[in-house]
């Protein structure tokens, strides 16, 4: 071991024992300038926060979230209790009122069929919100389930499910929905639209859930749990799914807006809900011929639709910012 050490006399050591150069003299800072902290003490300056709590704190401070939340709450109230906002029957139409001007109890005037535009806009909220919410629920349930199974088990199950996903992915949402819906053109149930959208919409959620589950599955805490005696199923439900949830929530919120747009588009194309159901898409479709004559009839349902979708998309953005793993890194 002697050859491993440098004695002060050896030549190699010379440079270490030279007089220091200017600016490199021995320096020791006064101890009170940087008092020693206990090694690795727990920082208790902030209250304990879980990931969800801190996401919520971040959300609460985000003006985008506040704005979107107020809008969404308002829209949901309108959808649930339209009678609070209007006493007019949206389906009562009188051709005598065709394109009538706005008046006290009809603040937005009448459309070509003589229906009250304001009450139709109010009642249209229910259709849009129901389709959006129901489709999202189904899509998250189905897509989430398939994606989670594929991602967690991998192997041939994943291969099979991924090929199925590919098939559905190759058909654009609207195109698929139109083809399906043309078979049920006479039905006026909103469920047909919900199912059509869900059938071609689950793929996106499945893909995201699959990726997110695969990522969560490979995290070390799962191995740790297994080594503690946990079973794969327990791991899936206790560790993997809770950790894979964030991106799914984000995509679900944003998709809700997309489904509302899709429903309106389908109704606009005449394959969605029939004119007997009050819906913004349908009203826009009927009003499009009035573009040159009376654009305001076209404007109101369009604006209502746009604001609703905007609210959900903004909510999706706000949630994404709050749950973004990048902003949570050390």
């Amino acid at each position: 071991m002697t050859d491993n050490t440098i004695s002060p006399e050896s030549a190699e050591a010379e440079e270490f024992f030279m007089d220091p150069l200017p600016g490199q003299e021995r320096f020791v800072a006064p101890v009170d300038e940087t008092p020693l902290k206990a090694v690795d003490s727990v920082d208790e300056s902030e209250p304990a926060t879980s990931m969800w709590t801190s996401a919520w704190i971040a959300l609460r401070k985000n003006p985008l979230f506040i704005f979107a939340a107020i809008l969404i709450v308002f829209i949901i109230i309108v959808a649930l209790f339209p009678q609070l906002f209007t006493h007019n029957d949206p389906t009562y139409c009188n051709l005598d009122n065709s394109l009538g001007k706005a008046s006290g109890s009809h603040p937005l005037g009448f459309d070509q069929q003589g229906c009250d535009v304001y009450s139709r806009v109010i009642y249209g909220a229910r259709t849009s919100v129901s389709v959006g919410v129901l489709t999202t629920i189904i899509v998250v349930a189905v897509g989430g389930f398939i994606g989670a199974i594929a991602g967690f088990f991998g192997g041939w199950i994943d291969s099979l499910l991924s090929r199925i996903t590919d098939v559905f992915f190759a058909i654009p949402l609207l195109l698929g929905a139109i083809v399906l819906l043309q078979m049920f053109r006479t039905s006026d149930s909103i469920w047909k639209v919900v199912f059509a959208l869900a059938l071609f919409g689950w793929v996106q959620v499945a893909r995201i859930t699959r990726g997110s589950v695969m990522e969560a599955k490979n995290l070390e805490f799962n191995t740790a749990s297994t080594a503690l005696g946990s079973t794969p199923m327990r791991n899936l439900f206790r560790h993997v799914l809770p950790n894979a949830l964030a991106p799914v929530i984000v995509v679900a919120t944003t998709s809700l807006g997309t489904y509302i747009v899709s429903e309106a588009t389908l109704s606009f194309l005449g394959v969605g809900l029939p004119s007997t159901t009050v819906s913004w898409g349908g009203d826009i479709s009927t009003a499009q011929s009035l573009l040159r004559i009376n654009p305001s009839v076209l404007f109101y349902p369009s604006a209502a639709l746009a604001i609703t979708v905007l609210a959900f998309i903004m909510m999706g953005d706000a949630v994404k910012d709050a749950l973004d793993p990048k902003s949570r890194t050390e």
Binding site: E14, R26, F27, V28, V39, A48, A224, L228, P242
Partner: protein, 666 residues
């Protein structure tokens, strides 16, 4: 050595290259609050000198270096002090002016080789960028054709002949001419000399002057030597120069490698490419920010040795940022210790190391595992009782021999199928050893040695291809549900990554309680009590129970992981790189905790690590693994004092600070 002294004299005569005075750096939080990362820090670097800044994570060492480069991330800003390079003030320079300084005057070798090369460009292209950005004339050494030609045409003319590189096209002719010249001069052992030339005359790196000198040294008359050099060394092109730079950095087969992409390189090769980039424009100062911390120890040593030789021959000064005090003292002449954004101590390396003054430095010197094992060695040499220096009291060979085997690994082999390859990859190849009750066995190896695979097989997380693991005499592969659960209860893991092994969604209480729940132990009340005890055992306050992993430091999380492992009163703990990700001081504390727990409850440890220095502080026995095979198996003292195999010697040799002599007064 006279050239060393010359160097000193030279340095003394010269002005400082880099002078940092009272530097303060602030960041702004999202809410707009300033956070001071560096305050009133001063240090000086002389030309050709290695200066090291040492500190733990968050000490401000990297921030100081980035401030010098003018590359502070995000909201970082220099708020006070001065940074002078060649006497020129850098603070307040515009980003345009900084661009002119970076590359030519200051280069960077960054920390993480995986993320610092752009994955979409070829390695050669990324070296080329460095040359092009600084208008380097690739046929000559240290000539930026535009700037120098404009400012100093005379100098260019005078030295142009000296600094030309060998080009790839002319190299065969050059070698042929050299051989002819050697034969003409009647030199003995021509082939031997030619072999040396083949090796040292690297395209795009070796200059005309050096070629001539080599020939003269070999016995060729001056005139002939110069004639050969002048005729056949006429400058390289871009590709030659890139290959030359990569070869200088120690990359074999550089010309081919230059056409590859980063993902085709190993970590060590990437680091070499980054060194080539950092030195491409021949900067006066190279900032090396933990350049090897992501690499295996033996690779680390090779790369640093190479960097040292290279910067010495180029006369480049190096500002070396590291968390490893042993490494810093071994490599640098001058040491700067930073703590909480301030320089707490600085001075000549060995002096700081032998006589640390500031309490933080003292703490650091005491904790550094490389120095600790070094201290034991020097204590033994002086005949001082080394046991008193160790927290872990190793059991003698006799005790080990008489101890009962709790875990036995018998001819264990694990093969993996490689994607799209026929043959199987043997991750673990016929490994046998046993862990004795109440003792610690360490498995040491570098990445790819199969050590973690062994751990996973012992934990029954992976099934062996052949061979078996027995626990108290029973083959664990026969364990089914109930037995397996019982086995899991008694053999617990602590994993490497303190960020990954705790579920971020679980509160600390839930994390520690999880094993109790899984095994259905106690009711809620007794579990709360048990969690409290466990937290106390790992020296954490009860108040962390409601907290979440992201609120704790790496060391604290590792304590939680240990508490979780201890929850079921296991007999064996398998610690897979459990302290590798931690700062030295924290590492030291966790090791002490593990040692205390063993002393109190007679635990057996299987301790997996890449760091031989740590082994000395914890293990009774050592198994050294390389490429899936067991290389050496002996008691810790035996391995350290009389290593039998070359690989073990290499590993020991690579422990930083191995050549330092330490005072025992610390």
């Amino acid at each position: 050595m006279s050239n060393e002294t010359n160097k000193q004299v030279q340095q003394a005569a010269q002005e400082p290259l880099l002078e940092v005075k009272d530097l303060s750096v602030q960041f702004t939080t999202d809410k707009g609050h300033p956070i001071t990362a560096v305050s009133d820090s001063s240090f000086t670097v002389y030309p050709g000198q290695w200066v090291a800044i040492v500190g733990e994570s968050g000490s401000g060492k990297s921030t100081s270096a980035m401030a010098v480069l003018g590359l502070l991330p995000g909201t970082g800003k220099v708020v006070g002090g001065s940074i002078k390079l060649h006497g020129e003030e850098l603070v307040g320079k515009s980003s345009k002016d900084y661009e002119k300084i970076r590359g030519v005057q200051m280069g960077l070798v960054p920390q993480d080789p995986m993320s610092n090369l752009n994955p979409v460009w070829r390695i050669g292209t990324q070296v080329k960028e460095a040359l092009k950005a600084n208008n380097m004339d690739v046929s000559r050494e240290k000539r930026s054709s535009l700037s120098k030609a404009l400012s100093d045409a005379e100098v260019k003319l005078k030295t142009r002949d000296d600094e030309l590189f060998i080009g790839s096209q002319e190299r065969p002719e050059l070698l042929a001419a050299a051989k002819a010249a050697l034969q003409k001069a009647g030199v003995a052992s021509v082939d031997e000399k030619m072999a040396t030339f083949e090796e040292t005359w690297v395209t795009g790196s070796q200059t005309r002057w050096l070629v001539a000198q080599d020939l003269i040294k070999a016995g060729v008359p001056d005139d002939d030597a110069w004639a050969v050099a002048k005729a056949h060394v006429t400058g390289s092109n871009m590709d030659d120069r890139i290959a030359g730079l990569l070869a200088e950095a120690g990359l074999p087969d550089a010309a081919t490698r230059a056409r590859q992409y980063p993902h085709e390189f190993s970590g060590g090769m990437r680091q070499r490419a980054l060194i080539a980039i950092g030195l491409a424009s021949r900067p006066d100062l190279l900032i090396a920010d933990e350049p090897t911390s992501a690499l295996d120890v033996t690779v680390q040593k090779k790369i640093l040795d190479h960097l040292h030789t290279l910067t010495d021959s180029l006369g480049t000064a190096v500002l070396f940022i590291t968390h490893d005090l042993g490494l810093a003292a071994e490599r640098a002449q001058h040491l700067v210790v930073m703590y909480q954004g301030r320089v707490v101590e600085s001075g000549p390396s060995l002096e700081v190391l032998q006589h640390p003054q500031h309490p933080y430095t003292k703490r650091l010197v005491n904790a550094a595992p490389s120095l600790a094992s070094q201290r034991i060695i020097s204590a033994k040499e002086r005949g001082v009782d080394a046991e008193s220096l160790m927290e872990h009291h190793t059991k003698g060979e006799e005790t080990l021999e008489h101890s009962e085997h709790i875990i036995t690994v018998d001819h264990l082999t694990k093969e993996f199928k490689l994607p799209r390859k026929r043959e199987m990859f043997k991750a673990v190849d016929d490994v046998s050893f046993s862990v004795k009750r109440g003792t610690t066995l360490a498995i040491v190896g570098e990445s790819g040695s199969g050590k973690s695979t062994v751990a996973n097989m012992v934990l029954h997380l992976l099934d062996p291809t052949s061979g078996k693991v027995t626990f108290e005499g029973r083959d664990i592969s026969t364990f089914k549900s109930k037995d397996l659960l019982a086995f899991r209860r008694r053999v617990q893991p602590v994993f490497q990554n303190p960020y990954g092994s705790l579920d971020p969604m679980y509160s600390i209480y839930r994390s520690i309680e999880e094993p109790l729940r899984i095994h259905g132990i106690g009711d809620r009340k007794s579990r709360v009590k048990r969690v409290r005890e466990l937290l106390d055992m790992v020296e954490l306050p009860e108040s962390v129970m409601g907290r979440y992993p992201n609120e704790l430091s790496g060391g604290q999380r590792q304590r939680i992981a240990i508490a979780r492992a201890m929850a079921l009163n296991p007999d064996v703990i398998i610690a897979d790189e459990a302290v590798s990700a931690l700062d030295v001081l924290v590492q030291d504390e966790v090791l002490r905790l593990l040692n205390d727990l063993q002393a109190e409850s007679g635990l057996s440890y299987l301790f997996i690590t890449h760091d031989l220095a740590v082994v000395r502080q914890i293990a009774d026995e050592v198994v050294v693994m390389q490429h899936g095979r067991l290389v050496e198996h002996a008691t810790t003292d035996e391995v350290f004092d009389h290593p039998k195999r070359q690989y073990t010697k290499d590993l020991l040799d690579a422990i930083p600070g191995g050549k330092l002599q330490l005072g025992l007064d610390s």
